[in-house]
């Protein structure tokens, strides 16, 4: 009896290790891909813009996927998935930071006069910058120690991820000239996620919610 329980546990642990390795692979792949394109001269005629845009894309994808973890868990009942929420969010923050640094260092060559003007006067840059600033305390307090220390307040604080990601989506939408296909998809996703969180399970899994609605 104890043996089979132990076997189940170790299987579970193994699965978790694979899951974490997979997330690391997924998280590092975009960076490797960009460096590879840089080294092989495949970034095109405007490499700074290309890197800037791709880092922005990747960051937003990670942030949206991070927010999808809880709904995914609710819908599928796959509880382990919650364990990869933190690395997903941190990769999102990492790529967002790289996105901002690419803008400040490579695109604007640290000409602060222009950077400050952009952040203050160009609304899409203002909100993008705000999103990054909002995510800094979330990245800092993502550790187990901080979760313990903050208790119930941690959950409240980390709801800022919704605000930051929404600002990120708006930033993405706003800087497009005419082709709003991808930004529109991002909007639909973030709206769907928020509707789910507001109207959704309130701690119960979807099967439970559906069950309760039958009555």
């Amino acid at each position: 009896m104890t043996n089979s329980t132990f076997g189940l546990q170790s299987k579970k642990r193994l699965r978790l290790i694979f899951l974490r390795l997979f997330i690391w692979f997924v998280g590092v792949a975009p960076a490797v891909w960009l460096v590879w394109r840089l080294l092989t001269d495949q970034l095109g005629a405007n490499p700074i813009e290309e890197v800037l845009h791709r880092l922005g894309d990747v960051s937003l994808v990670f942030l949206l996927v991070t927010l999808s973890v809880t709904p995914l868990r609710g819908i599928t009942g796959w509880n382990e998935v919650i364990k990869i929420r933190r690395p997903l969010g941190l990769f999102g923050f990492f790529y967002l930071t790289m996105h901002f640094l690419t803008y400040a260092v490579l695109d604007q060559t640290l000409d602060f006069e222009f950077i400050i003007e952009d952040v203050l006067e160009r609304p899409y840059i203002t909100i993008g910058f705000t999103a990054w600033v909002l995510l800094i305390p979330l990245a800092v307090t993502s550790t187990k120690g901080w979760i313990r220390r903050l208790g119930k307040r941690w959950k409240k604080l980390h709801r800022l991820a919704y605000l930051a990601t929404t600002l990120g989506v708006a930033h993405f939408y706003w800087q497009v000239k005419a082709d709003t296909y991808w930004p529109t998809l991002a909007v639909l996703l973030i709206v769907g996620l928020m509707v789910y969180r507001i109207r959704g399970n309130r701690g119960r899994s979807w099967p439970q919610v559906l069950q309760s609605r039958k009555h």
Binding site: G44, A45, N46, I48, E49, L106, D107, Q108, T109, D111, F114, E117, D118, R122, P123, Y124, W174, Q175, K177, A178, D179, T180, Y181
Partner: protein
Amino acid sequence: MLIGKSKNIPSSEITPEKMYVNRREFIGKSAAIGAGASLGWRDFDFGDLAERRHFQKDWSKVRSELDEELTPFGDVTSYNNFYEFGTGKSDPARNSHSLKPRPWTIEVGGLCDNPGTYDLADFIKPGKVEDRVYRMRCVEAWSMVIPWQGFSLKDVIDRAKPSGSARFVEFQTLNDVEQMPGQRYSVLRWPYIEGLRLDEAQHPLAMLVTGVYGTALPNQNGAPIRLIVPWKYGFKGIKSIVSMRFLEQMPTNTWKRSASQEYGFYANVNPDVPHPRWSQARERRIGEFRRRPTLMFNGYADEVASLYSGMDLRIHY
């Protein structure tokens, strides 16, 4: 010379001085790549990368004669805004093979004494085709320096003899989803429309372009014939032109129709009038690292500023 400060060059002198001095070499090199290239309208397969490099090497001499470096052929032909083939910068180079620039006809109409439908070859007077190096400044704050082949738009206007009431010229791009797959999506209203005030169109710097780097205009650059108005943002340079009409009223150009608070009819390069979403004070010259300051009228102020005297360029952006 055109791309430098042209204070001592009269506006009628439209071939860059140094380029002119260097013209024998320029044409010699062009001929050496085997396309009668200074005519700029013969077919040429530019697809092979080795050939692109070959091009650049042949043009290195010209580049060294100029005070601003030419943007390499490979960049000019791989980084394009041409939404008829997709909205990504590399989409036009990838997707524009479906465009058939021959045979090609251009309709000249509207308020003029000499309307007609012309075959491209009749439209281009070979003797008139000349080399000009222009800066190209995109509204997205990047820029290039490009050696075009073509002729003054004025030549065509003079032939058409616009009537006294004509005050504007309107151009249209081909509207054919078979050849332009991007037209399946309504990111913009098709066909693409651009226009100029008649006096702008008659300015000697305004150019109809049939070639670049001594070869026929590649599809992604607007084959077989496009407009270049070097003191305006790049989107004024309508590509793959099929019609030209003289109008009394100001036409609504495509980007203005798409977002009139952001893109106007005039679209003159102006570092002091920001785009509502970004600054136009600086630009990235393709191939350079640090942004450089954007010049008023893209550096052609001496030639064209008088066209806009008395106008508030913040209102007429």
